[in-house]
């Protein structure tokens, strides 16, 4: 029986969350994960699954120290994400933010630049969605409490 990749991935994801965020027992989680690897799993699947089981026991990598450029770009992202106004104004804000963030990324180090630039992935999609919405933009909002 082949490894159920989605089931194993989901189990690993849940186990890592419990270990890192809820002080879950690493050994117990590893036992549960190993039980999901069938005896006749392919060598490739086994290698992948076992590497994730072992990863669970490794301490999480230390948080990265970001430069001021990263934080500056993050503020631009946040402002554009919550920009109000007309649809045209929101599109303009998102577009301007994308350009600003990419310009900041160009000034950052080779290591940090890609992660700064990645801040625009969501902004770009929101902008596209405003230009060509999945459902009408003027639909009334749901009731709020």
């Amino acid at each position: 029986m082949p490894l159920d990749v989605a089931k194993f991935n989901s189990a690993f994801s849940g186990a890592r969350y419990r270990v890192r965020k809820e002080a879950g027992d690493v050994g117990e989680e590893q036992v549960r994960l190993r039980e999901l690897i069938p005896d006749d799993a392919s060598a490739e699947d086994r290698e992948w699954a076992v590497s994730l089981v072992e990863l669970l026991a490794e301490p999480p990598p230390p948080p990265r120290e970001w430069s001021e450029l990263y934080h500056e770009a993050g503020q631009i992202h946040a402002s554009a994400y919550r920009a109000g106004g007309t649809v045209e104004e929101q599109i303009a804000a998102l577009e301007e933010a994308r350009h600003k963030i990419w310009n900041i990324a160009d000034r950052a180090t080779k290591e940090e630049g890609p992660h700064i630039r990645a801040m625009t992935r969501v902004l770009e999609h929101l902008e596209d969605e405003l230009r060509d919405p999945t459902w009408p933009l003027d639909d009334p909002r749901p009731p709020t409490s």
Binding site: D4, V5, A6, K7, N9, S10, A11, F12, S13, G14, Y17, E44, W48, S51, L52, L55, P61, R64, H71, G74, Q75, H77, A78, Y81, R82, A83, G84, R98, H99, W102, K110, E111, E112, G113, P114, H115, R117, A118, M119, T120, R121, V122, E124, H125, L126, D128, E129, D132, T134, W135, P136, D139, P140, R141, P142, P143, T144, S145
Partner: protein, 356 residues
């Protein structure tokens, strides 16, 4: 876009993208395959994305495609990490249905647009290690977004609704299937199961209305747009939502303690669908409603409830979807690439003949 170039299907980069795309689809339950198999390269200052109108995917040549080499880059691992994160993010979008116009609890607003992006980023962050190891790019790293935005807002909601009966991971699995307009309904269902399981009757009408009431607390007027607010206020909004959610849970408990047979009163977020659902109730069911007092107006909503619980799509889109919350749905609509983990085994050419 005018300057975009169609990537030849017999090219190495196309084959590598298909291989990665298939790997992503294996790693979570998905409901659809919306990609039409056309991949475009762009030189514009964009990462690229999936176009739901055409079914195409376009990706930055410089920021994404040139990094899809089949092995880890020693020279530029950060750039390669974000390129692979983009593949993961886009492949999540194509596996997720979007609209649900006939569902009473569909939230067809800006809130859901933000939550859609939040789920895609959350999934990308959550699965990045497992995906890159499986794809042959081990040792790369991406970083959880700490600034206010779709990721932070979605993460905040997840922490408020997760629990023992419906875990964070189960919610994420439901989210990767969509429909996007039902993401808030999925979060509300988590609250029902985790905090109100012994309180709310199993009747569809009760559960749909309770979820509608909970959705209203989560779609805070300042989430996700948070207009003119500072980051600190973003935290305050999260706290506002937490308080409103807790208060509503208490109110629902009090209601059912005093009125166990009366459905909780709540307005549907998609009022038009709720009205249509009631109009479409068959005659025999209408008779039962007339005799049933409190059951009236509920049957149409109950059908929506059953669709949600079974993981099925709204009827109007049923032919494009397969049951989602079960297991057996992965890769639906797509031909699996045998041995997809190895670049050399990836098959060139179209891989999705059955797509919409």
């Amino acid at each position: 876009m005018g300057d975009d170039r169609l990537v030849p299907r017999d090219s190495a980069v196309y084959r590598e993208f298909v291989r990665l795309y298939q790997l992503v689809r294996e790693m979570r339950p998905i409901s659809v395959d919306r990609w039409n198999g056309d991949l475009y390269a762009t030189d514009s200052q964009r990462w690229g994305g999936f176009d739901p109108r055409t079914g195409r995917i376009r990706l930055s040549d410089d920021r994404v495609l040139r990094h899809l080499t089949g092995s880890r880059s020693e020279a530029d691992p950060d750039a390669q990490a974000e390129a692979l994160a983009t593949v993961l993010h886009e492949s999540t979008h194509t596996g997720m249905e979007t609209d649900a116009p006939t569902e009473p609890n569909a939230v067809r607003s800006t809130h859901s647009r933000g939550l859609m992006e939040g789920f895609a980023e959350l999934r990308t962050f959550e699965d990045f290690d497992a995906f890159t190891r499986r794809a042959g790019y081990p040792g790369l790293r991406v970083y959880e977004a700490k600034y206010p935005g779709a990721y932070a807002a979605t993460e905040s909601l997840m922490t408020q609704v997760e629990g023992a009966r419906l875990s964070r991971d189960a919610i994420l699995n439901a989210g990767t299937q969509g429909p996007v307009a039902m993401h808030f309904d999925q979060l509300a269902e988590a609250v029902v199961r985790n905090r109100l399981g012994e309180v709310v009757p199993g009747r569809g009408v009760d559960r749909v209305r309770v979820r509608a009431a909970l959705i209203a607390t989560m779609t805070h007027e300042h989430w996700p747009t948070l207009p003119d607010r500072s980051a600190e206020t973003g935290q305050a909004v999260a706290e506002d939502i937490r308080r409103a959610l807790n208060a509503k849970v208490d109110e629902i408990r009090r209601h059912y303690r005093a009125n166990p047979t009366r459905p909780f009163p709540a307005d549907s977020p998609n009022a038009e669908a709720a009205r249509t659902a009631v109009r479409e109730v068959p005659a025999a069911t209408a008779e039962a409603r007339n005799a049933g007092g409190e059951e009236r107006s509920a049957v149409g909503e109950e059908r929506g409830e059953m669709r949600f619980l079974s993981g099925q799509a709204p009827a109007a889109q049923a032919t494009r979807l397969v049951p989602a919350l079960g297991d057996g749905s992965r890769g639906a609509g797509a031909v699996r690439v045998p041995g997809a983990r190895r670049a050399s085994a990836a098959r060139p050419g179209p891989t999705h003949p059955g797509r919409q």
